[in-house]
Amino acid sequence: MFLIDCPYCGPREETEFSYGHEAHVHRPAGAAAEKLSDAEWADYLFMRKNPKGVHLERWVHTHGCRRWFNAARNTHSNEILAIYRVGEKPPKGLAQ
């Protein structure tokens, strides 16, 4: 049972949150998307990292402030190494 430090509300139990998916996936929009081949678009759409170790991921504080944020979590130990806001870069040393 995780204790997740919402960047807005502070530490709250995992049950208040929902996991989103991998963070920092760039979404090609509009004309940029039109230019992509189906394979390239599928790569954006479907392919995700699944590391043993640090994973940069998106969570939302569903039963709290409803804000989305990023977390760097070690998928092996479940240690949360950093929490940072949407739009921010992952802390040094944790970027993938």
Partner: protein, 207 residues
Amino acid sequence: MVESYRQQSPLDHLALTTHPARHADDAGLILGQRSFMELINLRGDANRSDFTDAVRHAVKIDLPISANTAAGKLAGPHILWLGPDEWLIVAKPGSGERMATALRNALAGQHAAVTETGQSRTCIMIGGSHARDVLAKGCALDLHPSAFGAGQCAQTLLAKAGVILHLPLAPKGAEPMFEIHVLRSFAAYLWAWLEDAAQEYGLRVDI
């Protein structure tokens, strides 16, 4: 505004005024309901002084900027912090429309949102010496007085209902009571859950 005789709270079907625990002595837990409270959901950018000024002008309270805190005086309206750009204004029945209009006027031209949500929820009051124990049965927040004292609020889960929990300041000598703002569709569920959780401490219903 709806004329009061046409209004029903989501707990009306429970006939709480005839509840067997209406006048129980030595109860460790007190439950009550404050229905038809006015609620205004407010969105805006707290970093902009024109926004905070406008709110102060319309509500006469400084917007709480610290997470999980509430602002307001004993008797008057309160503003609860809900998120980095979201607040809940809690005011007594009948004052909502006027306050919402005042806010909209004060915020005219700004990117802000004023949404009346008082009809969405009812307010269950919970007090008594075991109030924190009963809440702790269904809420994972740290409810120790040093961690959740008067003037604090939180959006969280209580049993399986999302709630806005607020411990207002109590007048001297009065027992503080938590306010649980719960969506009206969940109110009957939550009331039943609270009554059940209160059993071992003895329950009094104060309506």
